[in-house]
Each structure stands twice: as structure tokens, then as C-alpha cells.
């Protein structure tokens, strides 16, 4: 039996379309910077380890570390708008998921604040700490950056399954919902890919002697995980729970994004084959394809969310209205 709670008896402050545009549009911008931050951290870790033997890599790692703190500041602020919109549009769903996973939901605050402080320590104490401690800092940050997305994913998965709300007992139980881990893998793979793209963008116009080497690394970071997405992506798709509404359009868009991803891989592969002097020229095409994929993913996710909840939201709205009318009757005819 699916629970149907009543919503807050206050109207929405803006048309649904506007709130949806704020939610989806700004979330895509937020997730872009989050993936660059998390993936960038992975890249710094790898470059730093290679830098133990080759100073050139240490120099690259130091350069990349500077991007993490900027990306993290922008990622955090861009996340506030979508949070505001999801609080407004999906009040019952989001707050219910938050409460049922509350112990971990609230951990986001100290975990992320701590990770950010450590990120600064890692950046500003470069060369002044013992190697093991400097690497230890980045490993701790990496572990936090890998865990926090899971907390968000559990929440946004749980909010779409009202029929499971009365069954889950705590965060780890909710983490066993179908689709959580495949979607998590999908997200984690997107991080190095996006960081790879960021590095190509950063270095393509640099006169640095390592330019071609770093751009190749960027493309490899983009290409490898994106190829793995051809397995993980469809797995995330087929593990999506069934919905009361039709998923047809959402699934079609997801499939469409696979075609664009194939195009992206082809162009990136072509870039890798270019001579040093020309590498990076195909970047606008690759970045354009990535933007298209992001928009398709964001749109399809929203369509899936609507397919999962539109009937339930109608039931919640009807119950809320009945409650409001009953409350008014009790006030006027005590």
C-alpha cells in the first residue's frame, strides 16, 4: 500500500514550469562543477603519485590542484538554487527521504566542510608536508568526495519510491534500493571524464611544454570512463524501478544520449590521433557533445521523475485540499 501524506497547505510560489526550469537548469550547472571537482581530485591524486618519480607530473598536479578549490566554491553555490527548487516542488518527497536517511543526510555538512578545509591544506601546504601526509590529505578528501554523492543519490532515489517509505530502516537499507549503485557507478565514472574534458580546455591554449602530453591525458581520462559508461549507463537504465506513468519518452532520450556519447568518443579518439601541434582543435565539438549529453540526461531524469510521481502528486494534492477544507470547516463551525 502506497502512503499518501498531505502536503503543506500553501500554494507554490511560482508556476511549476518555472520551478522545474530552475531545478533542472541549475542542477546541470551544479553537477558540471561537482564532477570537475571530484574528477579533478582523482586526477591530482594520480598526477601527484606519478610526480614522486617525475617532477613534471608534480608540477601538473600542482596546477590542477588550483582548479579544485575554485570548482568546489562554484559547485557549492550553484547547488543552492536546485536545492531551493526541489524543496518547493517535491516538498513531501524530498523531506521524507531526508528524514528516513537523516543520520547521513546531516553528515553532509561536516564531511564536505572538512573535505574543503583539507583541500585548502593540500593546496597551500604543497611541498611543505611530508609526502605521506600530503598524499594522506588527498586520500581522505577523495574518500569523502566519493561518499557524499552516495548520500545524495540514496535520497533522490528514495524520494521517487513512496511505496518503499514504510519499509526502509536507515540509510544503508535505503542504499539497497534498486538503481542506487548502478547510478552511483554512472556518476562516479562521469567525474574523471568531465575532469579530462576540463584539462583539455585548460591546456589547449597554453604555451606550456607539457601541453600536448596533458591534453592527451585529458582525452584518455575522458575516453576510458565514457567507454565504460556504455556498459554502466544501460545497467542504470534497466535497473530503474517501474513507474505508474509512462517512461517511453525518458527512455528514448536516454537511448538518444548513447548515440551522442558514441559520437563524442569518436571525436575524442580522433583527437588522440592528431599530431601534438594540432591536438585540442576538436575540443569545441567534444565539449558540445558533452553539453548535449548533459542536457539530455537532465531532461530524461526529469521525465522519469514525473512518470514516477505524477499520479502520486495528484493524490497528495487531493488529500491536501480535503484536509484544508476540513480544517476550514472546523474553524468556521467549531
Amino acid at each position: 500500500m502506497t502512503p499518501v501524506p498531505h502536503d503543506l497547505p500553501l500554494g507554490l510560489p511560482a508556476p511549476v514550469g518555472v520551478l522545474t526550469a530552475v531545478l533542472v537548469g541549475f542542477f546541470l550547472m551544479h553537477i558540471l562543477f561537482v564532477t570537475m571537482m571530484v574528477g579533478g581530485m582523482m586526477m591530482v591524486l594520480v598526477a601527484q603519485i606519478r610526480g614522486l618519480k617525475d617532477k613534471a607530473w608534480d608540477h601538473i598536479a600542482h596546477d590542477l590542484a588550483a582548479t579544485i578549490t575554485v570548482n568546489k566554491s562554484i559547485a557549492v553555490v550553484l547547488g543552492v538554487g536546485p536545492l531551493l527548487a526541489i524543496n518547493t516542488l517535491y516538498t513531501v518527497y524530498f523531506y521524507t527521504a531526508n528524514a528516513l536517511t537523516g543520520s547521513f543526510w546531516i553528515l553532509i555538512v561536516p564531511l564536505v566542510a572538512g573535505a574543503f578545509l583539507l583541500t585548502y591544506a593540500h593546496k597551500y601546504l604543497w611541498g611543505r608536508l611530508p609526502v605521506w601526509l600530503h598524499l594522506g590529505l588527498i586520500l581522505v578528501v577523495m574518500a569523502i568526495f566519493a561518499f557524499v554523492p552516495l548520500i545524495f543519490l540514496v535520497n533522490v532515489t528514495l524520494m521517487l519510491t513512496p511505496d518503499r517509505w514504510g519499509e526502509v530502516q536507515g540509510f544503508w537499507d535505503a542504499a539497497m534500493l534498486p538503481n542506487v549503485w548502478t547510478r552511483y557507478a554512472h556518476f562516479m565514472l562521469s567525474c574523471p571524464a568531465m575532469a579530462g574534458l576540463m584539462v583539455v580546455w585548460l591546456y589547449r591554449r597554453k604555451a606550456d611544454q607539457d601541453r600536448a602530453q596533458v591534453i592527451r591525458m585529458g582525452y584518455r581520462w575522458l575516453l576510458g570512463p565514457t567507454l565504460a559508461q556504455f556498459v554502466v549507463g544501460p545497467l542504470a537504465l534497466i535497473t530503474l524501478p517501474p513507474t505508474p506513468g509512462s517512461q517511453g519518452l525518458a527512455v528514448a532520450i536516454f537511448l538518444g544520449s548513447i548515440l551522442v556519447a558514441a559520437f563524442l568518443c569518436l571525436v575524442a579518439w580522433g583527437e588522440l590521433k592528431r599530431p601534438d601541434a594540432l591536438i585540442g582543435q576538436g575540443f569545441p565539438l567534444v565539449a558540445g557533445a558533452m553539453v548535449v549529453i548533459l542536457v539530455l540526461m537532465g531532461g530524461a531524469r526529469h521525465l522519469y521523475r514525473e512518470a514516477a510521481l505524477s499520479d502520486h502528486r495528484a493524490a497528495v494534492a487531493a488529500k491536501t485540499e480535503a484536509f484544508r477544507a476540513e480544517s476550514e470547516a472546523a474553524r468556521t463551525n467549531p
Partner: protein
């Protein structure tokens, strides 16, 4: 009321929000709103006098502020939403619906503020010479944006105390221009500047050497700044206190400390005056004899101003009780206008979730009592009491009844009157929201609690079940 109930039984839910919110306010007021204009002024002064020492000092102070505001400051800001969505979702959900556009604009300003602080910090070295003037303007622009974010949020805080005309017309503008808005904004602005001066004094003593005459020049200048803010803190504080509704002032005695410490009120007032005098005294010393100001000794006025700010927040939170949104929603998350319905037909017919009795609670059910009634009592307790009370932790119901009734059995005939009329004896408590039958059921659950010492589990660990009636 229809959200699964998150509950922290040891520390209490309010403490979770308080820790995050007060930390955020300390960082926001002391390191952003107050400190950034001071940093920009130092940079401007250094450029005007051609003295690079001011520039170096300003940069170091900014770096410290930058590190803290963009990490702990930013996350505790988001954390206020995350924690209130757990502790009182009905309240934050309603506030967001009323103030959506206010918050949206605040968010755009916040984005600008973050971009500006990144820009200001990262261009400090490269924007020298002819570009210095532009860099100084960037600093002052950042100061303005920092203040604007606070100016928007303060309207929401004022609204929670007294929604004013919003109660009748439900418009965003009425909510924004609530009666407490401008006085509170003036007070916070002055307090932030004074607070920042104390932070800056401390940082100056860490960032300069004892044998450097510049240290004393800087201490004197910042002390003058602190002294200049003092009268404004007092004036704006008086203006603010004068617009706090009468009913809230009645709660002030308990707002300043917890109930059992009411008698400490006079001493606490003296403490607050003493703390303020200490801050001003140190500032005066900084002007008069800057080399007498000791580095560690400065910790005392800094802690004093932090305590004053934190305590001011605590009092603000408490005196608006029994409401979480003045006259609109009680602290338990139930709307005032829904009370007639709940009190006639009960809370539970409109509740979706039930919170199954634990083994210890089941074992403690008094002889002859029905499990169904105790279960209903627990569900009412979760809805009506747990937003402010715990069972066995901070502000524990068991503790209160233990003090009132001791070890005698807490039978409903001894507790029901207390529950029914507690809001008359204690004006900061909301009236009991449920039906007479539910009053008896919650009294029965409280009798059960007498011998249950384990923490009361919230939805985050024990989960929830769908109520039979909601199926």
C-alpha cells in the same frame, strides 16, 4: 506533521540546528559582513598612504576569512536548510514557499559574492599599480554583496518572529517588510562590524611582529573602528528590543537561560553588559596604549563578542515561542489555524505514519493499559512533543516529570492536567494539539516512559510504518 519524524534523543533536535546556525552566524557576521569592509578599508588606506604594510596585512586577513567563509561558512549556510528540513520540515517548507523569490534573489547575490571573493583573493597580487584602484573597488563591492545577503535573510528571521500583515494578505512583500526587519538588520550590521574589529585585532597580533611599530599603528586604527561601532550596537539593540512584541518579551526570562536558571537572569544581564564593556574597554586600550594589548588577552573580548552574538541568536530563537512562525505555526510544526480540527477530531486521523513501540516500551506498558492506546500515545508524543523535547536527553520529558512527580507512578490522572494546561503556566509552550482521547493516550505513554531509559528512536534509524487508518 505528515513527514516521518527525525529525532535525536540525546542532544535534542533544537541543539542540532542551533550548533549549525550559530556557527554560521559567527562566521557570516565576524568574517564576512563585518570583516570584508574592514579589509577593503585597510587596502584603500595602504594605497592612499603608499604604505605596503597595510596592503600585506589586509591580504593576510582576507586569506583567513576566505578560507573559513568558503568552507565552513558556506556549508553551515546550506546546513541550516539541511538540519531544519530534518527537525521541522513543516516550518522550513512553509518559509520556502513564502520567501522563495527572496531566497532565489539571495542565492543570485550569494553567487556574485562567491565569484567576487574568489576574484578579489586571486587578483590581489596581479592587480597592482594602475589596477589597484579597481581592486579596492572590488573589495568594497564584495562588502556590499556580503551585506545584501544578510539583509535578505534577516527579513526571514524577522518574519518568523512577527509576520505582520502577511497573516492577512499572504504576500511576499508583506512578509519581507515585517515590523522587526529594519531594527534587526540595523542591529546585526552594527554587531557584525564590532565583532569583525575584534577578529581583526586578534589577527593583527598574529600577523605582525612584536618589535614592528606597524603592529601598534594597526591595533590603534582597528580599535578606533571598534569604538566607533559601539554606540551603534547599543542604539540599534535598543531599537530592536523596542519592536519585539510584548508576548515575546514575557518569555525573555526563560529565553536568556533555561528554565531552571531563571533566577540567574540578573547575573546574566550583568554578564552581557560586562562582556560588552570588556570589548569596548579593550578597544579603548588599543587606542590609548596599543602596545599594552596582549595577544592572548585579546581572546577574552573575542570570546565575549562571540558569546554575545550566539546568545542573542538563542534568545531570538526562544522568545518567538510558542511559535516557530509567529501566530501562524507553533513550534511543534502544526498550524495555528488547524488546531480546531485537531482538537475536535484528533491528530492521528490526519497522520500518515506510526512509530512502532520498541521492545523496552512494550515491556513497560502499565498493567491493564491497552497496547493500542500506548501506541497511539507514542504517535501523538512524536508529533506534538519531540520537536522541542527528548524522552531521555536534553530537555527530557522524563526529567520534567521526575522533578514534578518523583518516583510515584506517573499515572494519567496526575499528568493529564499538566499536559492540558501547560501552555497557561508556561506561555512558551504551545497548547496541546490533540483531542481529549489523545490527551489520555499521550498521558499513558508518558507513564510508560517512566521506566524506559533507552533513547527514543527517530525515523532515521527505526523507520516508520503506514498507519492502518491511512491505508
Amino acid at each position: 506533521m505528515d513527514f516521518p519524524i527525525y529525532h535525536l534523543d540525546l542532544m535534542g533536535n533544537r541543539l542540532l540546528v542551533a550548533v549549525i546556525a550559530i556557527l554560521h552566524v559567527l562566521i557570516n557576521h565576524g568574517l564576512a559582513v563585518g570583516l570584508i569592509p574592514l579589509v577593503a578599508a585597510m587596502e584603500w588606506y595602504g594605497a592612499r598612504k603608499g604604505d605596503p604594510r597595510w596592503d600585506r596585512l589586509a591580504r593576510r586577513i582576507l586569506f583567513f576569512a576566505f578560507l573559513i567563509t568558503t568552507t565552513v561558512g558556506a556549508l553551515t549556510g546550506v546546513g541550516i536548510w539541511l538540519s531544519t528540513s530534518l527537525v521541522n520540515p513543516a516550518s522550513i517548507g512553509s518559509l520556502i514557499r513564502v520567501f522563495f523569490w527572496g531566497w532565489f534573489i539571495e542565492w543570485l547575490v550569494f553567487i556574485t559574492e562567491v565569484v567576487l571573493i574568489l576574484w578579489y583573493h586571486l587578483t590581489w597580487e596581479s592587480w597592482q599599480g594602475a589596477r589597484k584602484a579597481a581592486h579596492i573597488r572590488l573589495g568594497f563591492a564584495l562588502a556590499v554583496f556580503s551585506w545584501v545577503t544578510m539583509a535578505i535573510i534577516v527579513s526571514i528571521l524577522g518574519f518568523m518572529m512577527d509576520p505582520g500583515n502577511w497573516l492577512t494578505d499572504h504576500s511576499l512583500w508583506s512578509g519581507f517588510t515585517n515590523p522587526i526587519y529594519l531594527p534587526q538588520l540595523a542591529f546585526r550590521t552594527a554587531l557584525a562590524l564590532c565583532f569583525a574589529a575584534m577578529v581583526a585585532l586578534m589577527l593583527i597580533l598574529f600577523f605582525t611582529r612584536r618589535d614592528d611599530p606597524f603592529r601598534y599603528q594597526a591595533v590603534r586604527a582597528v580599535s578606533v573602528f571598534a569604538l566607533a561601532t559601539g554606540p551603534f550596537v547599543v542604539l540599534a539593540g535598543w531599537w530592536y528590543a523596542s519592536v519585539v512584541p510584548e508576548t515575546m518579551l514575557a518569555n525573555l526570562a526563560t529565553g536568556l537561560a533555561t528554565m531552571q536558571f531563571e533566577e540567574w537572569q540578573d547575573r546574566l544581564f550583568l554578564g552581557m553588559i560586562g562582556a560588552a564593556a570588556l570589548v569596548m574597554g579593550v578597544a579603548q586600550l588599543g587606542v590609548w596604549r596599543p602596545h599594552w594589548v596582549p595577544r592572548l588577552g585579546l581572546l577574552v573580548p573575542l570570546v565575549a563578542v562571540m558569546w554575545l552574538t550566539g546568545h542573542f541568536e538563542r534568545v531570538r530563537e526562544f522568545i518567538r515561542k510558542p511559535y516557530v512562525i509567529g501566530q501562524y505555526m507553533y513550534a511543534n510544526g502544526l498550524r495555528v489555524e488547524d488546531y480546531p480540527l485537531y482538537q475536535s477530531k484528533g491528530l492521528l486521523p490526519y497522520a500518515t505514519w506510526t512509530y512502532p513501540l520498541s521492545q523496552a516500551e512494550t515491556a513497560a506498558i502499565p498493567a491493564g493499559a491497552s497496547v493500542t492506546d500506548v501506541q497511539a500515545g507514542k504517535d501523538v508524543f512524536m508529533i506534538a512533543c519531540t520537536r522541542c523535547h527528548t524522552a531521555n536527553g536534553v530537555n527530557a520529558v522524563r526529567g520534567h516529570f521526575q522533578r514534578m512527580l518523583g518516583d510515584d507512578p506517573w499515572t494519567p490522572d496526575k499528568t493529564m492536567d499538566t499536559l492540558a494546561y501547560m501552555h497557561e503556566a508556561r506561555p512558551f509552550m504551545p497548547p496541546f494539539p490533540g483531542s481529549p482521547a489523545e490527551l489520555a493516550q499521550v498521558a499513558l505513554y508518558i507513564q510508560t516512559l517512566q521506566s524506559v531509559t533507552e533513547p527514543l528512536a527517530g525515523a532515521q534509524s527505526a523507520g516508520v510504518k503506514l498507519r492502518e487508518e491511512a491505508r
